[in-house]
């Protein structure tokens, strides 16, 4: 009697489970399209304000060469960290995550899907902002785009790990507050609108945003390679935060 109700145990391959989850995350992101566009408002304002006027002192003569990569790095942090921490915090309190926890989707599977979806969104945002930069006169070195992309993947993983960790440990209201505060602090001290505090190589380890921005400047604006200390810094941040998120992540 194998009618419609006959139990059929097993599970789909983890690859298709995760692919399905990535699709769902992207669909949900598209449904909040207005929030995604709004999230690009601050970076755009910084790009046009600090890039085209003398409101701040930036190192070097080429303002756009300094400001545009910084704005790209800021956008990565805004989407992968601030936006994701807030969304995931509320998803947990609404029971979305509990629903997924009741399914065969594993914790690492969900974390990977969320990070991959956020990376997809970031690529679209970066292309849009870079296009604005090009339009106002930024002249990047396209041949350096691969290392720039590599360091951006590491930064995304690190921010995403921190976002999911915070969403697991704090209540959604506290997550929103803390994520916003960190965003503002990083915007001020992260070397986006003006030079970051000079902490030497250690600065790259303390301020991941400044490290990421500098790596994008070295590659995209100047066609040089990513400093080893920055690879190490963002690699370490990514490893520690993703591991911590995988350990501490809670479905409810």
């Amino acid at each position: 009697m194998s009618g419609v109700f006959a139990p059929a145990p097993g599970r789909a391959s983890m690859r298709s489970v995760v692919a399905s989850q990535i699709r769902m995350e992207l669909t949900l992101t598209a449904r909040r399209g207005e929030a995604v566009v709004l999230a690009m408002g601050v970076p755009l304002l910084v790009l046009l304000g600090a890039g085209l006027t003398e409101v701040t002192n930036v190192p070097g003569d080429d303002r756009l060469a300094f400001v545009v990569p910084g704005v790209l790095a800021l956008t990565v942090m805004s989407t992968a960290f601030t936006g994701q921490a807030i969304t995931t915090g509320y998803e947990r309190s609404y029971g979305v995550l509990k629903r997924l926890g009741a399914s065969p989707l594993t914790r690492p599977g969900l974390l990977f899907a969320k990070t991959a979806a956020v990376l997809g969104l970031i690529v679209v945002q970066l292309i849009a902002l870079a296009a604005v930069g090009l339009a106002v006169g930024w002249r990047p070195h396209f041949e350096a785009v691969l290392p720039a992309l590599g360091i951006t993947v590491l930064a995304t993983a690190a921010y995403s790990g921190l976002a999911l960790l915070m969403a697991s440990l704090l209540r959604p209201e506290a997550t929103t507050g803390a994520a916003t505060l960190i965003y503002v602090l990083m915007l001020a001290a992260g070397g986006i609108m003006f030079a970051a505090p000079d902490l030497g190589t250690w600065g790259w380890f303390v301020l991941p945003l400044a490290a990421h921005a500098e790596a994008l400047r070295e590659t995209l604006s100047y066609g040089r390679s990513v400093p080893t200390a920055i690879w190490l810094s963002l690699g370490a941040w990514a490893l520690v935060l993703v591991t911590a998120a995988a350990r501490k992540f809670r479905w409810e």
Binding site: A8, R11, S20, R31, Y94, P104, G109
Partner: protein, 278 residues
């Protein structure tokens, strides 16, 4: 074959013990109901069996595995109908069902599942626009889309109108008829009586009775109350077995047009059982 095996299960929150040494056995293919007042430990017990909550002590086997450590292969064999979810999802009903179906190797066709829970007219609506009862029916659809061997239903019909509840009962009976094991927690005694092969009554973290709905707490042997009118006067007798009395009445040619034989209802038995533990 047992689907669920529990020995000496214990769980405390901040030093307050809410599950105090539960033993439970549910056979494959059985519909088993957990009854009990709020705070009796039903949801905690269920969540431990689902692998959502850690236990403090005791042995637990669900489909042959320890839910505390079982992986996603095991998770794909169980279905869970959650209580109180409020995923403010911007997905539509049909997108959500399709999405979850994608997690299982041989899911039921999403359209069929949506139809089974009576949500076909709402298939294209965003989840946030559903009413409470429709939301619960979506939860049921998401719980069964993977063709689970074992289905957990935590107060599934809260917020259903009577017709929707009957419809839901038919669905559960159909699932059970095809061999799905079902663990049901409910406040509604008539629901447990209508669906369950066996049930357990939980009070203050302990099981106070286990049995069939007809035999729970000695209900079958509790005797019967026989009433009839004789010459306009109401007569009532409490007897262990009503048969000899009725035979006598028939032999005496008594008018039995108003005869009633009543046994304690499940509700009477239930209230007695939990009353002793409050």
């Amino acid at each position: 074959m047992t689907a669920i095996e529990v020995r000496g299960l214990r769980k405390a929150y901040r030093g307050h013990e809410v599950v105090r040494g539960i033993d439970l056995e549910v056979a494959r293919g059985e519909v088993f109901a957990l009854l009990g007042p709020n705070g009796a430990g039903k949801t905690t017990t269920t969540e431990i069996l689902e692998g959502h909550r850690r236990r403090d002590g005791g042995e637990v086997r669900v489909l042959g595995a320890d839910p505390g450590t079982a992986g996603s292969e095991w998770r794909a064999r169980i279905g869970i109908v959650l209580q109180d979810t409020d995923d403010a999802a911007d997905l539509t009903v049909s997108e959500m069902v399709k999405h979850l179906a994608g997690f299982y190797p041989d899911p039921r066709p999403p359209a069929e599942v949506i139809d089974l829970v009576g949500l076909t007219p709402k298939g294209g609506s965003r989840i946030r626009t559903l009413s409470g009862g429709q939301r619960r029916r979506l939860d049921v659809a998401l719980g069964i889309v993977g063709r689970p061997e074992l289905l957990f239903l935590d107060e599934p019909t809260t917020g259903f109108d009577p017709q929707a509840r009957r419809h839901f009962w038919d669905l559960i009976r159909a699932l059970a008829a095809e061999g799905t094991t079902i663990l049901l927690t409910t406040h509604y005694l008539e629901e447990a009586e209508a669906l369950a092969d066996r049930l357990a009554v939980l009070a203050a973290g302990e099981i106070v009775a286990v049995g069939t709905p007809a035999g729970l707490g000695g209900r079958a042997s509790a005797g019967a109350k026989v009433s009839w009118r004789e010459n306009g006067v109401l007569r009532t007798e409490q007897v262990a077995d009503p048969t000899p009395l009725i035979r006598e009445l028939v032999a005496a040619d008594t008018d039995l047009s108003s005869l009633t034989v009543t046994r304690p209802t499940l509700e009477d038995t239930y209230l007695t059982l939990i009353g002793a533990h409050l």
